[in-house]
């Protein structure tokens, strides 16, 4: 499974794409595959605060519920309306159209994982 090298990751299976002072956040293909078909996603509203490794929402498949942990501290500036309407985007394009929120941040957490480190983590699982 190819985890894009331009992204950073958490051990809770979120990815983050940093562009300037804005971070796009999603869950990894590995997490999406483990969940099964996502049928519901609960996301914060624009303006909400997110805190590193604190819960910012949840995703449900037919068989399970999984909480979403923020990879970054900041403020939500955009929520993916498409993924709320069509949660299956998380399965079909976890690293692209299945993105969840965009967060404006001041500082990056120091211990985000690289793609290689996340590869290693998921190989153990």
């Amino acid at each position: 499974m190819a985890n894009p090298t331009n992204l950073s990751y958490t051990k809770e299976h979120e990815w983050v794409l940093v562009e300037g002072d804005t971070a796009t956040v999603g869950i990894t293909k590995f997490a999406a595959d483990a969940l099964g078909e996502v049928v519901f996603v609960d996301l914060p509203k624009v303006g909400a605060a997110t805190t590193y490794l604190k819960i910012f929402g949840e995703v449900e498949s037919t068989k399970s519920v999984s909480e979403l942990y923020s990879p970054i501290t900041g403020e939500v500036v955009e929520v993916n309306a498409s993924v709320k309407a069509s949660p299956e985007l998380i399965n079909s394009d976890a690293f692209g159209d299945g993105w969840l929120i965009k967060v404006k941040f001041a500082e990056l957490p120091a211990d985000l994982l690289t793609a290689a480190e996340y590869d290693a983590l998921t190989r153990e699982a």
Binding site: G36, T62, K63
Partner: protein, 366 residues
């Protein structure tokens, strides 16, 4: 963990696996929603070889099963099947079963995977006073493959030497598939028409492969994830959820299965007679919600605005066929739970409204 004879097939198909009743079983092959819809609209193929097959034979076989189970097997016609329960002396449910009558003195009892040992041991113990009945756990000898859905009979007919059109629901027949002697039960756990193919374990892979090749794009391999949503929509209980030792058959809505109206004794009869004569303490209800959030096993049920829980969800999911959440759960029998009654479920800290519904949620059109 145990694997079925079809494990190499599942791996070749890229299945994801889950632990179920001590078995490593396919939870999905690709997409459990597509698998669910395939069974409702076309056909799906399931490996259910983890289920237990226990043979009961001998001149006293029928008389023995009448004593061991809550409904009589002696009234089952040869080639027919019946849903049954095996209860403990106190009336708690040890397992739910299907009893197939293969011949006058020959029955096949199918039990849940996780209850194999306890059901086999109970039947053996209960047979102690029946010298003319033999109980043999044949689970390791059998593979069980379910083909379910509106196109299942047409697909199976292409590879089977016996006419299937005349086979009634809840019947069983002997047939040959690919030169292999099998039993075909017209039974299932999906709410659709379909068959369960009992095949020798050694022949499981060739029959699985033949069925998939024959069904082509009309037949989708299906995992346990969709098996669960299919049975939930069809209002069928799952042992460990709606049925267990802590609940009696009357609470679970199975009063009709318990045949107290017979002279002969059976295990649990005295306790069940007493339970039947008293008001029940709780009852299993079916509820439906709006939106997309499922009420899941363990979530508490409330009357609107009340802080005191009146019950708990036993199974629930966003129904793939209906598009809204459906669930079953036990509530205090003192609470009014007529169809249409509004209730609330605590979904991880949020109260969501649900409405008591008739069961089942889904019924196929015939």
């Amino acid at each position: 963990m145990k694997t079925t004879p079809l494990q190499p097939e599942h791996e070749a198909l890229g299945a994801s696996f889950t632990d179920f009743g001590g078995w490593q079983m396919p939870v999905r092959y690709a997409n459990e929603l597509a698998e669910h819809h395939a069974v409702r609209t076309s056909a799906g193929l399931f490996d259910i070889s983890h289920m237990a097959e226990i043979r009961v034979s001998g001149p006293q076989a029928a008389e023995f099963l009448d004593y061991a189970l809550v409904n009589p097997s002696s009234v089952i016609a040869v080639t027919k099947a019946k849903y049954s329960l095996i209860c403990a002396e106190n009336g708690g449910v040890i397992d739910d079963l299907i009893v197939y009558r293969l011949a006058d003195a020959e029955f096949l009892v199918v039990a849940n995977a996780g209850n194999r040992e306890v059901v086999a041991a109970e039947l053996q113990a209960r047979a102690a006073n029946f010298a003319g009945a033999t109980v043999v756990d044949e689970s390791d000898d059998w593979a069980l493959i379910a083909i379910q859905g509106p196109k299942s009979a047409a697909i199976l007919q292409q590879v089977c030497d016996q006419p299937l059109a005349d086979a009634k629901y809840y019947s069983i027949l002997s047939a040959r598939v690919d030169g292999v002697d099998v039993l075909l039960g017209r039974t299932g756990y999906t709410g659709e028409d379909g068959f369960e193919v009992f095949a020798p374990a050694a022949a499981a892979r060739q029959i699985w492969q033949l069925l998939l090749a024959t069904g082509g794009s009309d037949l989708t391999p299906c995992g346990l994830a969709c098996r669960d949503t299919l049975r939930l929509e069809a209002g069928m209980p799952l042992y460990g959820h709606e049925l267990d030792l802590e609940h009696n058959p009357f609470e679970a809505g199975f009063a009709k299965v318990v045949r107290l109206d017979r002279d002969a004794d059976f295990v649990g009869k005295a306790a069940l007679e007493k339970i039947a004569s008293e008001p029940i303490a709780r009852r299993l209800i079916s509820i439906v919600g709006e939106g997309k959030r499922a009420a899941r096993q363990g979530y508490e049920i409330f009357e609107p605005g009340s802080e005191r829980a009146i019950g708990v969800i036993t199974s629930g999911a966003l129904s793939p066929t209906l598009g809204y959440p459906v669930a079953m759960g036990y509530v205090d029998a003192s609470v009014s739970a007529e169809v249409g009654t509004k209730l609330e479920v605590d979904v991880r800290g949020t109260r969501l409204e649900f409405t008591v519904s008739a069961a089942p949620f889904y019924k196929r059109s015939k």
